[in-house]
């Protein structure tokens, strides 16, 4: 059987890039639909930060546009959490809290990556994501400790997203190889810190942590939920229908 050469750096860049791209695309779906004008602009800003990060990461991994617009579901290495539907505003904030808390802790460590690009990237992105994490925490606290309806919606949003947390801390061969090469950060190092950080936000929000559910993993290997296909169809149709289109 032929073995396929695996370049852990390339795959690691792709995974981080796909996370940012898919979450950025998801958030951009709010544009024009935010609950209020100010929140609409906030969400668009978050989306733009992430699309900017995706551009840097995917261009480092190869031809960014080609990677973003001309790959199919199976080739995407994003985690399942980021492709989950927006739901209501509370579910979007639950997803953003759970992902960006992880991303922020990862980026803090990647600033010390031996890979120069990743270290410089992390140095820039960590400030953007610190803001995302703060904003998502603030909203989680306000909705959780708000009205009966906002607390119910916030709890439901967290409940939806909870089963996708374990995937964030999965270390497969690719990540292990990237850790061994001192390119990647080992997420298991901050798994405890992550748990207590989320618990602290939930406590302030007067919310119970959802019961642990059977984890769902596989996104990093291209096994995605049905939601990613719909997202990609919308995101990719223009460059695929008009391959030389410029704007």
């Amino acid at each position: 059987m032929a073995t396929v050469a695996v370049d852990p750096r390339h795959d690691y860049l792709l995974r981080l890039g796909d996370d940012a791209l898919v979450l950025g695309q998801r958030l951009s779906e709010w544009c024009g639909h935010g609950p209020v004008l100010e929140v609409d602009i906030s969400l668009a800003n978050l989306a733009l930060d992430l699309v900017g990060q995706a551009t840097l990461l995917l261009n480092e991994a190869g031809d960014g546009d080609k990677l973003a617009f001309h790959r199919d579901v199976l080739d995407f290495g994003n985690c399942l959490l980021v492709e989950q539907p927006n739901g209501d505003f509370a579910q979007t904030m639950a997803r953003h809290l759970l992902y960006t808390t992880w991303q922020h802790m990862l980026l803090e460590r990647l600033t010390r990556s031996s890979d120069r690009f990743l270290a410089e990237f992390a140095h820039k992105a960590v400030k953007e994501i610190a803001y995302h994490r703060e904003l998502a925490s603030e909203w989680t606290i306000r909705l959780g400790d708000g009205t009966e309806e906002s607390a119910r919606r916030m709890a439901a949003g967290l409940d939806w997203c909870w089963r996708f947390i374990p995937e964030l801390f999965e270390v497969d061969e690719t990540v292990q190889a990237a850790i061994d090469a001192k390119i990647a950060a080992d997420p298991r190092e901050f798994q405890e810190g992550y748990r207590s950080a989320i618990a602290a936000v939930l406590a302030e929000a007067k919310l119970e942590a959802p019961p642990d559910q059977r984890p769902i993993v596989g996104g990093r290997r291209g096994h995605h939920s049905e939601h990613l296909g719909h997202l990609l169809a919308l995101m990719q149709f223009l460059p695929r229908t008009y391959p030389d289109a410029t704007w």
Partner: protein
């Protein structure tokens, strides 16, 4: 929903040494989120290095009906502008 939220006036300092300038307003449920909304609405193109938000309700405004007595008397006092005076050529640095 934003109709339920109080209004906040937003002031931005463009760079160190300059005064904060009023740039507009945002709706927000509390001061902390008002700052974040102000950041996202008014500083996304590197317009500033510092932000103030002030509850609009705390601003005391002059009464437009009193504009005549408040502001018109100044119109006839052009000598209050430094350009009203001729400066002798011997005076430097003015």
């Amino acid at each position: 929903m934003s109709g339920d939220w109080p209004l906040w006036e937003v002031f931005v300092r463009a760079k160190g040494g300059l005064a904060h300038r009023h740039v507009g307003s945002v709706h927000a449920p509390d001061a902390e989120l008002a700052l974040r909304h102000a950041r996202d609405t008014y500083t996304r193109r590197t317009e500033g290095v510092s932000l103030w938000v002030v509850p609009s309700a705390t601003i005391v405004a002059s009464d437009p009906d009193e504009a005549g007595e408040l502001f018109e008397p100044a119109e006839s006092k052009i000598y209050r502008h430094p350009t009203f005076y001729d400066i002798p050529d011997e005076v430097k640095h003015i």
